[in-house]
């Protein structure tokens, strides 16, 4: 696999906290347009990996390239976001004092320059786009509500909505369906599959039904490295995966 054809390229990434290796020589490659599901035990390093990609955590060693040439380990969070990497956090974080609508508006794909924002207003297309996103996440009726007043699950949805509005090339989605009902979970899977047609996506989930619905290649992380990779059926059959993750 060449460096240039891949959208995301991790090689030998290691992160340790006071000697504990959260990521251990992790390597992974993602092609443009690919969707990848990542599973693995609690503490396997899934979130830490996303932290490394988005600049929240600096790896001790290893390289991370985006789009073939961009060395993400040298950029800060904002620069990485502006390269086209968007993220939904495991613990929903939204702008609590803004309305749901403004939250989406703030995430819209656009220049983030303060001077631009000082003089520009939202265009009609942008407003339409916000409406669409609100519809998608089913929060239209709450669009004027302050985000602080949302329930846990509603915030999850809002985060997904912000990610949609941001429309990045690479989406990192950490546990999108936690706290959702089964049918919402199914809907979300459909939504992600739809998005993946035009985007590159990494999804972390513990909900196997959901992962099955995605029907994509699965990587199993364990103790900071890849334990197994393949279709869900393939990895589910792996006894090591069963031992450390799925249970019997």
């Amino acid at each position: 696999m060449s460096l240039t054809s891949s959208l995301l390229y991790l090689d030998g990434v290691t992160v340790s906290f006071d000697g504990f290796k959260a990521l251990n020589n992790l390597s992974m490659v993602l092609q443009e347009g690919e969707m990848r599901a990542i599973i693995g035990p609690n503490g396997a390093g899934k979130t830490t990996m996303m932290d490394c990609i988005t600049g929240k955590t600096r790896p001790d060693t290893g390289t991370i390239y985006f789009d073939g040439t961009v060395d993400l380990t040298r950029l800060d969070e904002a620069a990485i976001a502006n390269e086209g990497i968007g993220r939904k956090f495991q613990k929903p974080t939204v702008f609590e004092n803004h309305t749901v609508r403004t939250n989406i508006a703030l995430a819209l794909k656009e220049s983030r320059s303060p001077f631009h924002l000082l003089v520009s207003r939202l265009s009609r297309e942008q407003n339409t786009r916000i409406d669409e996103v609100l519809d998608t996440i089913r929060l239209s009726h709450l669009q004027k509500e302050t985000a602080a007043n949302l329930s846990h699950g509603q915030k999850q949805w809002l985060e997904i909505g912000m990610l949609l509005a941001q429309d990045p090339r690479l989406l990192l989605v950490d546990e999108p369906v936690a706290g959702m009902t089964d049918s919402e979970t199914a809907e979300t899977a459909r939504l992600l599959v739809e998005i993946a047609k035009t985007h590159t996506v990494i999804v972390v989930e513990h909900d196997m039904a959901f992962v099955r619905d995605l029907d994509v290649k699965v990587t199993v992380l364990h103790e900071g490295s890849v334990l197994s990779e393949g279709t869900l059926d393939h990895v589910s059959a792996d006894t090591r995966v069963i031992d450390v993750y799925l249970g019997r």
Partner: protein, 231 residues
């Protein structure tokens, strides 16, 4: 026994619970279901005393809680695993567990072995700060912490959220085991239908602040409930 009688709850002008009634008995698991934002967490908050109720009453062991604060309810045998984990981020795992000692008789001020049996990862991370744990580890810690209090009523708000499948199975077993012991009432909020169905003795489904359906396990009609939980 917990009896929630016609409870109302407001956030400012927003009416989050509308005359909700519910009963939880020792040795039973009561399962509360419903879509996002219907008021499940609000009901647990009301029971725990984290948010004042604006109408109705909550009776525990024959005595109404009135306006008593959470720590009094905790001392009367309630414990809660809240949504969002609410781990004390700068306390170590061990210290997080020890916060449960407050008000316990000295003899009980030790961490029950079940906690580590159920969540072995905690014992290996006793000195790590709670905030550093991964999401799923924090969820495990939150459950363990509630168990330290040896509650008579355990409130679980989506306890399986973010937890790996093998441990979900164990949590299910644990809840089952606690129920079997017969001295504990359990109120479980759960979105994951199968998990809920396997555990529930009684159930209730909420919609927009109201309980729209309830009954015993036998009365749990999967289709009807699913219909109610569909978006």
């Amino acid at each position: 026994m917990l009896e929630v009688r016609n409870v109302d709850l407001h956030y400012g002008a927003a009416h989050a619970l509308r005359s909700v009634s519910l009963t939880c008995r020792p040795g039973e698991v009561t399962c509360l279901m419903g879509r996002n934002g219907v008021g499940k967490t609000s009901l647990l908050r009301a029971v725990m005393g984290q948010h004042p109720i604006s109408g109705g009453e909550i009776v525990w062991d024959g005595k109404a809680f009135g306006a008593s604060p959470p720590y009094e309810r905790a001392r009367r045998g309630l414990a809660m695993v809240p949504q969002g984990r609410e781990i004390f981020p700068l306390l170590t795992v061990g210290e997080n567990l020890q916060t449960g000692f407050a008000g316990l008789p000295p003899a009980q001020r030790r961490i029950p072995d079940d906690v580590f049996e159920l969540f072995p990862v905690l014992s290996s991370m006793m000195n790590r700060r709670g905030g550093d744990l991964s999401g799923g580890q924090q969820q495990q810690l939150a459950i363990g912490r509630a168990m330290v209090r040896r509650p008579k009523l355990l409130l679980l708000d989506e306890p399986t959220e973010g937890i790996q499948p093998s441990i979900i199975i164990q949590i299910g077993n644990a809840i089952d085991y606690l129920r079997q012991r017969g001295d504990m009432a359990i109120l479980l909020v759960e979105q994951y239908f199968e998990f809920a169905r396997d555990l529930a003795d009684t159930f209730a489904v909420m919609e927009r602040g109201e309980i729209v359906m309830s009954g015993t396990r036998a009365e749990m009609d999967e289709d009807k409930i699913r219909a109610n939980m569909t978006v």
